[in-house]
């Protein structure tokens, strides 16, 4: 491992349709670290996720994205994925006709049934029930979400960007999602955990608060959580935590 970080974002700005959405974003995620990014709806968290992954229409206006020492700002989604990055979408895509087992296998270097079963189990899904099902709209939103997380788990990426992995998941299962995220870190994956639920923050090793496209503060998860839960209100961009 080089540089002591897996992901480094430097002075990232992004505009879409003339609106500035990301404002001078800076953050660093260390190898095998869970970095919690907390923020209200619409503050730019998902936009940051798409920008980091290189999705179409999300080319930064300025700034750099470094992955393990390599500038990936101009790389395609595929190229970033092949370096070891991946993204779990907040609202995962539906795939008519593709079975769960085939979907999981797509991201695996050497697909094995045992690893697929392990991934589904980690996401709280019974392999027996889900392996042969299609990743289509017959599945509920929560089921698709878990399958998306299982696919990321099975891929064993070096960096996983998880966009609100807790949304659409019943409250009783949040612990399981937290365990899956810690499991990713335990297998060496750096995780950028994007969420608006403060109860997910304890899963993180370090946390940041995002507001109106700007990272306000990075620090101890509990401190960031407390501020967000008790005091974060709509405000002017750029207001720092006390």
């Amino acid at each position: 491992m080089t540089n002591g970080y897996m992901l480094k974002v430097e002075h990232l700005w992004l505009e879409r349709d003339g609106v500035t959405i990301l404002r001078d974003v800076n953050l660093t995620v260390a190898p095998a670290q869970v970095f919690g990014l907390l923020g209200r709806n619409g503050c730019g968290k998902s936009t940051l996720a798409y920008t980091l992954m290189g999705c179409g229409g999300y080319a930064p206006s300025s700034g750099r994205i470094l992955f393990d020492g390599q500038d990936i700002t101009q790389l395609s989604v595929t190229e970033r994925a092949r370096l070891g990055m991946t993204l779990a979408w907040q609202d995962p895509a539906r795939f008519e006709g593709i079975k769960v087992k085939d979907y999981l296998a797509l991201g695996m270097r050497e697909p094995s049934r045992a690893e697929m079963e392990e991934a589904l189990t980690a996401a709280g899904l019974s392999p027996f029930t889900y392996m042969e099902r299609a990743v289509n709209d017959v599945l509920s939103g929560g089921e698709r979400k878990r399958i998306e997380l299982a696919a990321v788990y099975a891929m064993r990426p070096r960096l996983a960007i998880l966009d609100e992995p807790d949304s659409g998941i019943d409250v009783l299962s949040l612990d399981a999602i937290g365990r899956l995220i810690r499991g990713l870190a335990a297998q060496g994956t750096a995780v950028l955990l994007i969420t608006h639920r403060d109860e997910m923050v304890p899963v993180a090793d370090v946390a940041a608060l995002m507001c109106q496209g700007e990272i306000l503060e990075v620090g101890d998860p509990q401190t960031v959580r407390d501020y967000y839960a008790r005091r974060c209100q709509p405000c002017e961009a750029g207001q720092k935590m006390p």
Partner: protein, 311 residues
């Protein structure tokens, strides 16, 4: 290699399992060009075939109440690179019978091959028939195929038709099925095709729900790329009380290909209910980027999505 072995090899290339065409326990018929190379009956199922100058006239009769535990297998093919094959089948499925046909039509060397099918299908009262048809037209695009059928489903009967042409070139396909459904009958037509090069696909499917409580589904999944064209005309008519029908068409278009869909719904009884949906466009961006985020390049990701849709 004998003609029978040649057609079996082509049958296997199109996805069929030759074992079924050799088994004495399985209903089967093998037609190469205008010759009937093999036919096997089982108790309660009768096959009649007449060779014509350019094809075969066939009559397949399933006696009332007969329920086949395993599918009947049919193979129609033209091995030379040119020729004409006309198939004139009549299916008579007796009341209360249940049968599934797995048909493979294979023209592996087609450069100028014309295959015409003009069928009549009668599904008796309370009977069930599935006709699952997989085509392989070779890699040149030299096949012109026109399957055409009139299907009648009696009261409480069920007809399921599935046409799949997703491997190799299409050439020219003109698919035209009309199904008339009586009271409490069910009809489902599913068509899947993948065209490229300068392939031409025309799918015309009509379900007429003429009896009380009849139900029907017309479903098409078509993908075209390069300069291929596709046109899907799915028609459902609700002509009786409590008839329910739906037309569902999805077409994916890439490159310079052109796709069109004309979903037609017609209701002549106010208690009938018929709906339609049609979507034509390129591959969904989120689906594409999801697969790319797993490491697939764009071309492979598109192929996975299209193959999934055509499954």
């Amino acid at each position: 290699m004998s003609d029978f072995d040649a057609i079996l090899k082509a049958y296997e290339r199109s996805g069929g399992n030759p074992h079924f065409l050799r088994s004495s326990k399985v209903v089967s018929m093998v037609v190469s060009g205008n010759r009937v190379l093999g036919a096997n009956e089982v108790c309660g199922v009768h096959l009649f075939a007449e060779e014509l100058p350019d094809g075969v006239r066939a009559r397949i009769v399933v006696e009332p109440g007969v329920k086949l535990p395993t599918p009947a297998h049919l193979c129609f093919g033209v091995i030379p690179n040119e020729g004409v094959q006309r198939i004139l089948p009549v299916f008579e499925i007796g009341a209360g019978a249940a049968v599934e046909f797995v048909a493979h039509c294979t023209f592996p060397n087609a450069e100028r091959v014309v295959h015409l099918m003009e069928g009549e299908i009668h599904v008796g009262r309370g009977a069930s028939m599935a006709y699952r048809e997989t085509h392989y037209h070779g890699e040149v695009g030299g096949a012109e195929v026109a399957p055409k059928a009139q299907v009648t489903v009696d009261e409480g009967g069920r007809y399921t038709g599935e046409f799949v042409l997703t491997s190799g070139r299409v050439g020219v396909l003109r698919f035209d099925y009309v199904v008339n459904v009586a009271a409490r009958g069910v009809a489902e037509l599913v068509t899947k095709a993948y065209g490229y090069g300068d392939d031409q696909i025309v799918v015309q499917e009509t379900i007429r729900l003429g009896g009380e409580g009849a139900r029907g589904l017309v479903k098409a999944r078509i993908a075209v790329r390069d300069r291929a064209t596709s046109q899907v005309i799915g028609t459902t008519e609700g002509n009786a009380p409590l008839a329910r029908g739906h037309v569902d068409c999805v077409e994916i278009v890439r490159d310079q290909a052109v796709a069109s869909a004309i979903p037609v719904v017609k209701v002549t009884d106010p208690r009938a209910y018929v709906t339609h949906e049609a979507a034509i466009g390129t591959v969904d961006k989120k689906e594409l980027e999801t697969l790319m985020a797993r490491g697939l390049d764009e071309e492979r990701a598109v192929d996975v999505i299209i193959r999934g849709m055509l499954q």
